[in-house]
Amino acid sequence: MAKILVVDDEEHIRLLYSEELTEAGYEVITAADGYELTERIEKEKPDIVILDIKMIDYNGLDLLQDIRNKFYNLPVILCTAYDTFKEDIKSIAADFYVIKSFDLTELKKKIAMALEANIP
């Protein structure tokens, strides 16, 4: 069972993602902020990270850069309410991005693709 780490400062999003993704057959763990995120990833060893871009004290794009530098192949999907983040070149270090929605179809599709991605 693939393990997903959801990093989002909004509690309702963490709850929604946890419930829906658990139902979809994933093991879900959550973090409410980016505090010591790379250490947490090292400890929990998730197969994929779902990362909110705009958190109160953290910039998701900076966290993405930290993750990518330390965990070269770990899939990261950016989640955001707005698509203006695409103006920032750092966003291309993500595997995918999705616009936040209560319908998780697109997110689930991107999770499946990111987990399937393979380079020998």
């Binding site: 399937e116 991605a117 393979n118």
Partner: protein, 405 residues
């Protein structure tokens, strides 16, 4: 009298190298050399470094200009034999020199660069001392610039080898000393690689060797001597696309196991506000005419190598007038799949086969230009990303055709 090497400071070892390949660049080489020197002094001041000009024995005084520029960093000039040309051959000499110098990091920049700053050296070089083995450039390019990259090199290398390198034929990049040895020992060398196929070959080998790759954001757009795309397209297209196809044959065991793609790390932020690239003018009439003319000159090849339904679809596109012209992405992918199989199976003379792809490519380019007319650079990037996802999603079809099913 011909001199293969000039090494006035008698440099025997260097940890860091900035290399500038050239052929008749006397009027432009001084600027990138000066910027490279400043970059080395500012950011690699505590490392033994050297600037190397690898040249095709230019007869315009490139060597004298290069060696005459006052720099704090020592310089070495190396050249191919008289009459021996080709960008790739310059690189081969460079690889040998890098191995000899036991260099750990190498940054290459074009000799005609007008937009290079010292920070380019930092951003292309620093990751080589932080666990990365290959650093590709990330420029903001005009939406009509680099159409071979956008339509062929980027989507194909990404979907084949699984790593998203936006500028796989960027011309300015960094690589580690270990790769220089791998390049020298590779058994894939060809005439195309000895020329303009060199950039895509280096990127492809780095991917196949599982070398950690990152992309360095350059901040400024690449501004260099303008080339006439019409005049240059034939040989360059043949060499780049031929190299991609040859690598596909060689590295089938690797790419057949790749699924979807993964991003890379990005380096080089803090360059201030991103500068917008200068506009690129495209003559849509010429693209349309050359696409239409392709049916007169290449139909006999297409009918031999393309699937029947692909030929039929091309005929449908041919009937469209310029205003309604649209070349679907899935048709373009099907064309490329058939061309790669035909190239592998030698269904036609190699050069003629590759040349016959040009009119179709120009049709695809016209379609892109029309769609991108009202797009921002960011939107056109998203459009290309969507096309890449289509390439990745169609990989099963590519595998089916390659496996002869």
């Amino acid at each position: 009298m011909f001199e293969h090497e000039a090494n006035p400071d008698n440099i025997k070892k260097a940890t860091f190298v900035v290399a500038i390949p050239s052929y008749n660049e006397a009027d432009s080489i001084a600027f990138p050399v000066q910027q490279a020197d400043q970059g080395i002094q500012l950011f690699f001041g505590d490392i033994d470094s050297v600037i190397i000009n690898c040249d095709n024995n230019s007869d315009d005084g490139t060597k004298e200009i290069f060696l005459g520029i006052k720099t704090n960093t020592p310089k070495i000039y190396i050249s191919t034999e008289p009459g021996v040309k080709g960008k790739g051959r310059n690189f081969r000499n460079l690889f040998k020199k890098i191995v000899e110098l036991e260099a750990e990091g190498v940054v290459v920049v074009d000799a005609d660069l007008k937009s290079i700053t010292p920070k380019w050296i930092k951003h292309l070089g620093e990751p080589l001392f932080q666990d990365f083995g290959y650093v590709a450039p990330l420029y903001v390019r005009h939406k009509y610039d680099g159409t071979i990259t956008n339509s062929i090199a980027y989507p194909l290398t990404r979907s084949l080898y699984g790593r998203r390198v936006r500028q796989p034929i960027g011309g300015d990049f960094g690589f580690c000393g270990k790769l220089a040895k791998i390049y020298l020992e590779s058994d894939t060398w060809s005439e195309a690689i000895a020329n303009f196929g060199i950039d895509i070959w280096m990127t492809t080998l780095a991917m196949n060797e599982n070398i950690p790759i990152c992309q360095a954001f350059m901040g400024r757009p690449k501004i260099h001597r303008a080339k006439d795309p019409g005049a240059d397209l034939g040989p360059m297209f043949r060499q780049v696309v031929g190299t991609i196809f040859n690598m596909m044959i060689k590295f089938y065991p690797f790419w057949s196991n790749v699924k979807w793609s993964k991003p890379t790390s990005i380096f080089g932020f803090g360059l201030g506000e991103t500068e917008m690239p200068p506009p690129v003018k495209v003559n849509k009439e010429t693209l349309f005419t050359k696409f239409q003319n392709g049916f007169n000159t290449c139909s006999h090849i297409w009918e031999k190598i393309l699937q029947k339904e692909t030929v039929n679809k091309l005929q449908e596109v041919r009937k469209m007038n310029k205003d309604q012209f649209d070349f679907p992405t899935n048709l373009w992918i099907n064309v490329l799949i058939d061309f790669t199989v035909a190239y592998r199976d030698k269904l036609w003379v190699e050069d003629e086969l590759l040349d016959s792809l040009i009119p179709i490519y120009l049709g695809k380019t016209l379609s892109y230009v029309k769609k991108a007319e009202r797009m921002s650079i960011r939107d056109s990037e998203e459009f290309i990303e969507e096309e890449c996802l289509q390439f990745e999603a169609t990989k099963k079809l590519l595998m089916k055709h390659w496996d002869g099913e």
